[in-house]
Every structure is written in structure tokens, then in C-alpha cells.
């Protein structure tokens, strides 16, 4: 007899929510020439941020401040809230897991969109929750249907992202605010704003920490170019933020990451310049798509989702043909969304290469 896992753990598969590009490279035994699949920010962190990491490297023997004091102060000042309204974690993924754990037990209904962020679903499954999914409508998360599902299921937790991943679409702030106003006060909304910095200002509702049922999550992984450093934060009412201290890994933050995030927050000029480059990159990807007779879905993120114009298997074959040609991209898999591939904004030479390879990939399927 071996040690017995809990029944819940026993029931779960050993799975990875995404296959990393490195795993594909090992399998192909060849590296990618364009890394456009993981919604990373190829422009990278600011030179000031790289310098901060390098300067702090020799201090890596010290544990990080478990209170994230300096970073919370800086974030609070930046956001116009109190430090008690902010919790910092090792990426939004970690914070999502902690938030799910706070509200989900075996069988708890949790509402999300069919085809939305798989890592959120991974956490819900990991704590025994029951996923209730509603389809996208017109390539956007369907706010009314999400609300209906919340009410029908009496769900204590609902998730959506604005702007959305994997479609890149977004709602206006007024629509989000209407959603929040209509949401039962006993239902927590996780509003994932990982792509908030690249969205039009009109998509971002003002922060209102008087709402005890909204957690807004943001990250240094996207616009700030620090995906590999793992730093996200959640903004919410004080009681809900304090609850993270019940279960979070207090010494989990990386010391260099704290330094990097602080430096990144200070360098808003660099952020502004990167956002401009991301927007230009989105336009370029849309042009490349159009040049191949494909429609790019308008995006507020650092990627563009391209409608391949046919069914899921066709889009999958486009994806595979691109990967064969050393272009790393990903695609939505849910019915209706699966007709698309998703292309992150990359460096100019990467988009050049994509522009060169996409017609060849399409031709290979003709």
C-alpha cells in the first residue's frame, strides 16, 4: 500500500495548462525564429529594470520582504488606493489560485466563459469546483450570459478578463460597471486586467475599492515585459485583500522581482513607448492577416487573434504549418473560437518572418 492521495487529488489528471515553447523546441529539435505564441512582450523590460535586476543579483541570498512593503506602497500610490487594498503575488496565476481557494470547495459552481483562461479553470478543478461555462458571443465574453449563469447557479465566484484573452476583444468601462452593479453582492468577480495597460482608457473602469465583491488582477508580465519574473497584484476591498494573508506563501516572492517591479513602475516613459510599439505591432499583424485574405479581430491586448475563415481543424492546420516553419503561435480551442489563431506582437524581424511564412503555410494547405 502506498500513501493515499485525497479523493480530490486522486481524481485530477497530471496536466500542464499550456505546452511551453521550449517543450516544442525540444520536440522539434529546432528553436523558433519567431516567438509569437505566449503573449509575452518581446520588447522586454526597460533598461532601468534590467539594471535593477543586475544590481540586485548579488543580494539574492536574502529572502525577500514577505510583506512586499515597498512594492505595495508604490503600487498603492500609482493606483490611488491604500496599501491595504493591494496584495502582491508570484504572478496572477498564483493569485488566481489563492482567490479560488478562498471561495471554492468540492462542488462549488464557478462561472467563466467557454474558452477563457485555462489556468483559472485548472485552479477551479484543483479545488474541486464545478465549472459553469457560457459561450462567447461575437468573439466577446458575454457579460449578460455570465450574469445569468451566476444567478442561475448561485455561484460565489465569476471570472472574466477585460481585455479578453484569447480573443483580444474588450468591453467599455460602462459595460463593466453595469455588470458589477447587477452582480449579486455575495458573488466575487475576478476581473483579470492582465492586458489593461494596452487597452484604450475607455475600457478601464475607475478603481473602486469600496466594492467587497470585485478583485481586479494585474500583472508585470505583459506591458511591463516581466513574464519570467512572476509578479502580479490584486486590488480590492481591505477585508478581501487581507484574506490572502491567511493562505499565501508569505516568503514566495523573488527578491529580484520586487526590485524589478519597483523599477518598472517608476519607468512609465518606457511603458508608454512599449505600448505604442505594441499598438503598431497589432496594426502590422492585422495588415499581414488582411494581405492573406484573413480577418484580424480588433485587439486591445498585446496579441491579435486572426480568424482563419474556416473551421477549427483548418485553423489547427494553419497553426501546425506555422510551427513547422519555426513560427510559435497558439490558438483558441473552444468551439466557435477555434477557427482562429493567436499571434502575439513581436519584434519587427519576427513579424517580418511571420509575414513571409504565413502565405507559405496557407499555400501548403491549399
Amino acid at each position: 500500500m502506498e500513501p493515499q492521495f485525497t479523493p480530490l487529488i486522486d481524481s485530477l489528471p497530471s496536466t500542464v495548462p499550456f505546452v511551453g515553447p521550449e517543450a516544442l523546441e525540444r520536440k522539434r529539435n529546432r528553436i523558433f525564429r519567431a516567438r509569437l505564441g505566449a503573449n509575452e512582450n518581446s520588447f522586454g523590460p526597460a533598461p532601468s529594470v534590467i539594471a535593477a535586476m543586475q544590481e540586485n543579483a548579488a543580494d539574492a541570498w536574502k529572502y525577500a520582504d514577505p510583506e512586499n512593503f515597498d512594492l505595495k506602497q508604490a503600487l498603492a500610490a500609482h493606483l490611488g488606493v491604500a496599501p491595504g487594498n493591494v496584495v502582491v503575488g508570484e504572478g496572477v496565476d498564483t493569485l488566481l489560485g489563492l482567490a479560488v481557494r478562498q471561495y471554492v470547495q468540492q462542488g462549488t459552481p464557478v462561472v467563466t466563459s467557454l474558452g477563457a483562461y485555462p489556468t483559472f479553470n485548472f485552479h477551479v478543478a484543483g479545488f474541486g469546483g464545478r465549472l459553469v461555462t457560457v459561450p462567447y458571443r461575437d468573439d466577446r465574453e458575454d457579460l449578460d450570459a455570465l450574469l445569468d449563469a451566476v444567478e442561475r447557479e448561485n455561484a460565489p465566484l465569476v471570472y472574466f478578463s477585460n481585455p479578453d484573452n484569447p480573443m483580444g476583444t474588450w468591453w467599455a468601462a460602462a459595460d463593466i460597471e453595469r455588470f458589477i452593479a447587477r452582480l449579486p453582492t455575495t458573488t466575487m468577480l475576478i476581473l483579470d486586467e492582465a492586458y489593461g495597460e494596452t487597452a484604450p482608457a475607455s475600457a478601464m473602469p475607475p478603481i473602486d475599492v469600496s466594492r467587497p465583491n470585485v478583485l481586479r488582477m494585474r500583472t508585470f508580465s505583459k506591458a511591463y515585459g516581466l513574464a519570467g519574473m512572476r509578479c502580479g497584484y490584486a486590488i480590492g476591498a481591505e477585508r478581501q485583500i487581507l484574506a490572502f494573508d491567511k493562505i499565501r506563501n508569505h516568503f514566495g516572492m523573488n527578491r529580484l522581482t520586487q526590485a524589478a517591479a519597483l523599477a518598472a513602475l517608476k519607468d512609465q516613459d518606457y511603458l508608454t513607448s512599449v505600448i505604442a510599439r505594441i499598438i503598431a505591432g497589432r496594426d502590422r499583424i492585422a495588415q499581414i492577416a488582411a494581405g492573406n485574405g484573413l480577418r484580424a479581430i480588433p485587439s486591445a491586448t498585446n496579441f491579435v487573434t486572426i480568424d482563419c475563415g474556416r473551421d477549427g481543424p483548418f485553423a489547427l492546420s494553419v497553426l501546425n504549418a506555422l510551427i513547422e516553419r519555426d513560427v510559435f503561435v497558439r490558438k483558441p480551442m473552444a468551439p466557435g473560437l477555434d477557427r482562429c489563431i493567436r499571434v502575439s506582437v513581436g519584434l519587427e524581424h519576427e513579424l517580418d518572418y511571420f509575414a513571409e511564412q504565413l502565405p507559405l503555410a496557407l499555400a501548403s494547405l491549399a
Copy 2:
């Protein structure tokens, strides 16, 4: 009405297992002159490791390989096991949390020593487990009593560390092996070897991954000097290691940390030199204690626990007097152990300062 936490979450306090030195510095409004409380490695990581972090800083925009492929290969080769016998995580704390989650539900008995690692207890409480503690005996974890408690409670999980934190004591490999042989096969042992590198070779049993009920946990935080980078690993039977993939945060590892750990593992000469310095530092701390009429408990770790010769309140006043004098140390709090303070090996100038301040601290209490 606000969103309702699960009953378990509702019952937990918002707490930090340890107060960090930075928090004390903020409170005192003065920085420490000797940082000797957190069992960090003041000698720091190898120059080759610092260089690796600096070289990889510009790549921080990429997510880390979620499979930790290169690091697992290197660890497996180093340990003489297969990559499938190793799981890498964001510090041992994270791996402890995941291991607890695999075996613990509401009310599950979990055995540990009274006064052993608080973060393990934090995780057990966080998943609703019922801690069953046995006292230390002669300043060592009491292996026979731990076994008795496992059998009495039919506990699926037992934890101990060898060498031990907070006392620095250790058991010989043969004693550990006897413990494992006697352990019910349905009980998982978490054998925390965070301080394994600084222990005599005779304290470390050979690795035997055929045992499905032993997880050995090791870290880059101590001898390798990378506490701030968060990298630990667990070694065990394949099925038990694979179970971590059910619930771990696959994209949780920091990319610079992967590079740092790989470089650290390669630089075994530096590790050897640091271990020699740690051993010399232990001797120095023991001499300082003896020079003040106090007994140092023999240590196999990177710290020395000093018996202050009286009761808990006295040792606490010694601790506070040292902190007032800008010497950051910690102390065990459990009955019997609380007569001690715990002093990490530091740089020569830090131990000089400790040697200067300890008699003043003691004199202030006379």
C-alpha cells in the same frame, strides 16, 4: 452581504509565519548591522551564479520553461536519479504546501515536532489538517515519538527535518533509515533536508526512489545562497512526483531562478568553499557563546542555536537586547526549546559585531 469565504478560510487567521528583518527595520527605523536571524547564507551565491542572473536579466520577458526541463535533467544527474523523480518548485515552502494539499483534508491528522518549521504548520492549518505534535527530546526531533504518533493517529503525513531547524541537531543516516523502515507504507514522510549540504555525510541516507512514501526536499536557499530566488526541489518515487503536476503552478518558476540554480549546481567548487566557511562560522559562534558562559548546541546547519541557560522569558530578553543593538537573530518559541536563541552564520564583520554586542546585551539584563 459580502462574498462568503469557505468555512475553512473563514476560520483561519491572517498571519505571517515569520516577521521579516525588513519589517523589524521599518519598525525600529534603523537597519541591522548583523543580519543573523533568517538562516540565510551571507556568503552569497557564486560569482558564476551572479553572472548567470545578470546575463539572463534581459530575457526576463519570456516565461520560464514550465517543465523545468534543463534544471530537472541537471538535478537528476547530480542526484543519480531519473528526471521523473524530481519536481522543482518556487522554494521548499511551495512544495510543502503542494505536498500537504495532496494528503490533507479537513481533520486529517499530520504529525510533526512541537517547535519545528512553522511554515509547514501554516500549510497544514491552511488545508484544514489537525496538527499532532511531539516534543523534542534532548534538543533533537524524537524519531521514536514521531513514529508512535503516526501509528496512534493513523496519520497519512509526517514531517521532520534533518538536520533540524531550529535546533541545528541531526540524526545519523542509519537512524533515518530505521525510521523509514518502521514507517507505515501508507504514511508519507516529508524529510526536509534544507540544510543537507552543511551536514556531515554520515547524516544523509542514500537516495532511494523505490520508496513511495518518502519525499526528500532540498533547496537552493541555504548552502547555495539563493534564498531570494525561490528554488526548491523534491525527490521521490515517480508516481508521487508526478502528482505535483496535478496542482502545481506550472508557470510559477522564475526564469532567472532557473538559470541561477543551473549555474549554482555546476559550481560545486564554490559550494565546497562556502560549506567550509559555514563550518568555520559555526565554530566561531560556539566560541563566542562559550566566551559568554553560554552553551552552543552542536549544529549541522548554517546556524547555531545557543542555550541561554535559563528560561524562555530570559532568552527572549536576550533576543530583544540583541535586536536593540542592531543584531537580527531569532529564537525557538516552543516550551523547552525556548531557552535558546538562534544565530545564523554571517560574514566575519557581522560575527565580530555579534561578539562585541552579546556581552553588552547580557550585561544589560544582569
